[in-house]
């Protein structure tokens, strides 16, 4: 038997414990409790969910793209390379798309966010041709891990950019110059022609930043010509660098082959994920889709070649949308009934999701009538 002060004394102490606690509580003042805490406020500042912003300026960027400047009281500080989603109302329906931020982290704190938008696709074309200055849009908090990290990455990023894939690197350039990020950047920038450049290279004079334009459709003196081949990649390869890649899927396929030929381990290459696109199906079938959102039930149509998310947006539902490429998990939804196709290139679900039948509607295509349970995003409804 254990005893410290003799069994009687020890037991007595044990029996009096609760009275001691009662008294301690009694003696505590009934002060009002804090409504929030500094750490929680910082969490809210970094993760406000959605922010209402206005389009402040739309100006040409390259031949085929525009810079959309958004303004709000403040945007969260972010890590250069991250993206936001923006939701706009087109024909009375809210649609959402992700765009890399092109402005700097310090600008965000001042309430300015720039997106470089190429005229291509439904929402982008709306933004570059129809959207008006003064229009209200809904912007998400900055997200994604396509950014430099002092622990994970080398001190130099070797960026392989194609077309509008330059935008996250533009933000990095600005961040390096203003001092909010600290690393070196070598960019191999593939575009069709000089007129397609989304930034003025001549204006960037900083030892830490080197940009090599590569024109595919035009020969320019003193510039590289062609595609991002292994020869070119090797020619400008820094001694020690982390490779970041951003561009269209076709470019990824091409560059990955080149990198593999150079004996790179492709797992160590970081590429920004693209949105899931419509499947190529001749005469796509149309299915019935039942969507549960809390206690609401909607019966809508879904085309075989379009993602379930697109179907929900077409029907005007407040469906969750962030990366639209299957990897952020924001649209995580429960499958109740039906069969579907989930292309491998967008497959980033958690293991348990397969066992318990959860899907990412942004990158899931129906192959029968379906019934799903989706977490609604109220902000889209109220917007």
């Amino acid at each position: 038997m254990f005893t410290k002060n003799g069994p009687n004394e020890d037991v007595k102490r044990t029996l009096s414990m609760l009275d001691v606690r009662r008294k301690l509580i009694d003696d505590t003042p009934a002060k009002e409790l804090p409504k929030t805490y500094a750490v929680n406020q910082l969490a809210d500042a970094l993760h406000p969910g959605f922010i209402k912003a206005t389009i402040k300026e739309i100006k040409p960027c390259s031949k085929n793209s525009k810079v959309i400047t958004l303004s709000a009281k403040k945007f969260p500080y972010f890590r250069a390379g991250q993206y936001v989603t923006i939701s706009v109302k087109i024909n009375g329906k809210v649609v959402t798309r992700p765009y890399s931020i092109m402005s700097s982290p310090n600008d965000a704190l001042m309430g300015k966010l720039e997106l470089g938008v190429q005229t291509a696709g439904y929402v982008s074309t709306y933004l570059t041709t129809q959207a008006k200055v003064g229009e209200t849009v809904l912007v998400s908090e900055p997200i994604g891990d396509f950014h430099h990290d002092s622990i994970r990455d080398e001190d130099t990023i070797y960026a392989l950019a194609g077309g509008s894939g330059i935008t996250p690197f533009v933000s990095m350039i600005k961040a390096i110059i203003e001092g909010s990020e600290n690393f070196k950047l070598v960019i191999l920038y593939g575009v069709k022609s000089k007129a397609d450049l989304m930034l003025d290279i001549t204006k960037i004079k900083d030892d830490r930043i080197k940009i090599i334009p590569v024109y595919s459709d035009e020969k320019v003196e003193g510039a590289e010509n062609g595609f991002l081949t292994k020869e070119l990649i090797k020619k400008y390869l820094p001694e020690k660098a982390s490779i970041f890649m951003c561009g269209a899927n076709l470019m990824y396929q091409f560059v990955k082959k080149e990198l593999a030929a150079l004996q790179f381990d492709l797992h160590q290459i970081r590429s920004e994920t693209n949105c899931a696109v419509d499947q190529k199906i001749d005469n796509p079938r149309e299915f019935n889709l039942i969507v549960h959102m809390r206690d609401e039930v909607y019966q809508i149509k879904a085309k075989e070649n379009e993602s379930l998310l697109v179907a929900m947006e077409r029907a005007g539902l407040a469906a969750p949308s962030r990366c639209r490429g299957g990897h952020c998990g924001f649209c995580h939804s429960r499958l109740i009934k039906g069969s579907y196709v989930a292309p491998k290139e967008y497959e980033h679900r958690r293991l348990a999701d397969f066992k318990f039948k959860y899907i990412h509607p942004c990158s899931t295509y129906p192959s029968s009538d379906m019934e799903i349970d989706v977490p609604p995003v109220d902000e889209l409804k109220e917007f």
Binding site: F2, L18, L33, K355
Partner: protein, 511 residues
């Protein structure tokens, strides 16, 4: 459209999910409202590149085996989730490295093995190990008995059969261990788990830690094959099977009360209302009694109790996806405790500072689940605590820098302790700070361990006063802030207990 429920649960953390199943299993209607888009709270996972990281769980104690279920295994059977979950048992308790004293000991699981280890540590060591496990075992038995008699024990049985419990219950771990006066190495090796409870030994009650050490050493621990996300989805599936509703992206702003002060419903941030006379909150009482209830519905005594309590540790975790196998890296164990010193009072104090490298609890998941990441890769996560609100002074601009500086120190500490290199192999990295935990679960200051296990607010005090501590009629609070303190088994049990108490409240109303 259903708007009325017998019970509404706020939060789908472990406590909330278990509470929902406890009432659904008895035929009540129940709605669970969760702020996040997933169930589980901390019990979740996330994907980065080719890795799926476990968000919280290091090891789960109390599941036991199919044939011989532990206390949580029994609970999972009763809730109807056992068949949905597969477990893998762990082989060792921990490798304990104490830098100041150059201690590096791997502690096995299993009573006989732990006892055998004693002699390797010092002369006659096995006798002390045996002695301790007997004492701790008798305390665990007493606690089981207390549980079985629903807090109304026979005083004579307590004073005879469970006398060790009665003589130790009011003392801290330090007070009892000082008196036992074991050789110092034995005491140090036995105390490795202290940081799982996040309390230093002069605050932490002896029976709490002793019971925990005994359960781990003699009953073992395990991990689920599909991460804790698999646990949470198993619970959600069961909720649907029993006809319950669970809504995500549904943050509760207010708990509604009627003119008598009884709970009458809840209101979401979007303004939608759902009605019930019984709410089980799986969130912190600090949130409930500050913003969620109307001022006039907050009893004075609830404010006193809540003010009296102290927050436990705020969390910090570094998740690493490494591009070499554990063998290639030289990581051979599943779980590590690395402390700057064996003096946990000192370590606890150091953990108040930002940054610190006072200590870490680290897990290599592949050494429990070899296939948890692609061949030739490793998942490693390093967790530590902040014993003070050290992140409150960090600005939005400095946040990432601070996070990385803190993580860098922990990674280096692990590398130095094991004499290995991680830096050159980091393919994926994610860092969760108190700010991250505050964001995902809304807990004040990013606390992950509920209320601090201090002397008079320890496990046995809370359990015995659990009915007394409930002040708002129709409102019960379960989970990591509940009577069993934090941890997977505790939060599930606390939730299920609050579910059972709510069933009692409902039955009383019927009369």
């Amino acid at each position: 459209m259903k708007k009325n429920y017998d019970v509404i649960v706020i939060g789908a953390g472990n406590g909330g999910l278990a509470a929902a199943l406890a009432v659904l299993n008895k035929g009540k209607t129940c709605l669970v409202l969760e702020k996040h888009n997933l169930p589980g709270g901390f019990a979740t996972s996330f994907v980065r590149g080719r890795f799926e990281f476990e968000a919280s769980l290091h090891e789960f104690n109390g599941i036991g085996t199919k044939e011989e279920p532990g206390s949580c295994g029994v609970l999972f059977n009763a809730l109807g989730v056992s068949d949905k979950i597969d477990w893998v048992p762990l082989h060792e308790a921990y490798r304990l490295i104490s830098l100041e004293e150059n201690i590096d000991v791997t502690v096995p699981l299993g009573k006989e093995k732990v006892i055998a280890l004693g002699d390797k540590l010092c002369e006659g060591g096995s006798k002390y190990m045996k002695d301790f496990l007997e004492l701790a075992g008798s305390i665990s038995d007493a606690m089981t008995y207390l549980g079985e008699c629903h807090g109304k024990p026979d005083p004579n049985v307590m004073k005879t059969k469970y006398i060790n419990y009665m003589t130790t219950c009011s003392y801290s771990f330090k007070e009892v261990m000082d008196k036992l006066n074991y050789p110092s190495i034995i005491r140090k090796v036995l105390t490795g788990y202290w940081s799982y409870l996040g309390a230093k030994e002069d605050d932490m009650s002896f029976v709490h830690l002793a019971n925990m050490i005994n359960s781990y050493f003699t009953k073992g621990a395990c991990v689920p094959t599909l991460r804790s996300h698999g646990l949470s989805l198993a619970f959600e599936e069961r909720i649907h099977e029993l006809g319950g509703d669970i809504y995500f992206n549904s943050k509760v702003a207010k708990i509604l009360t009627d003119e008598t002060g009884h709970v009458s419903g809840v209101k979401l941030v979007n303004g939608q209302e759902y009605y019930t006379r019984h709410v089980i909150a799986n969130c912190s009482p600090h949130n409930v009694f500050s913003t969620m209830l109307d001022k006039k519905a907050i009893p004075e005594r609830a404010l006193k109790l809540t003010n009296y309590r102290k927050f436990a540790g705020r969390g910090f975790t570094v998740f690493l996806g490494l591009n070499k196998s554990p063998k290639e890296l030289g990581i051979n164990e599943h779980s590590y405790f690395i402390y700057s010193s064996s003096d946990n009072i000192k370590v606890y104090k150091e953990m108040g500072k930002l940054p610190h490298t006072a200590g870490q609890a680290t897990v290599c998941l592949n050494n429990a689940l070899p296939d948890c990441s692609p061949k030739g890769t490793t998942i490693l996560y390093i967790t530590t605590l902040f014993t003070e609100d050290a992140w409150s002074k960090v600005s939005e601009k400095d946040y990432v820098k601070m996070k990385n500086q803190m993580a860098e120190g922990l990674i280096k500490q692990f590398e130095d302790a094991l004499h290995i290199n991680l830096h050159d192999h980091i393919e994926e990295l994610a860092i969760a700070s108190p700010v991250t935990y505050a964001h995902y679960c809304l807990h004040p200051q990013g606390v992950i361990y509920g209320y601090y296990s201090q002397y008079n607010d320890g496990l046995m005090y809370r359990i015995q006063m659990v009915n007394e501590d409930a002040y708002v009629p129709g409102l019960r609070i379960g989970g990591g802030y509940g009577e069993r303190l934090d941890g997977f088994p505790s939060s599930y049990k606390s939730g299920a207990n609050e579910g059972a108490r709510t069933l009692g409240d409902i039955a009383k109303e019927g009369k």
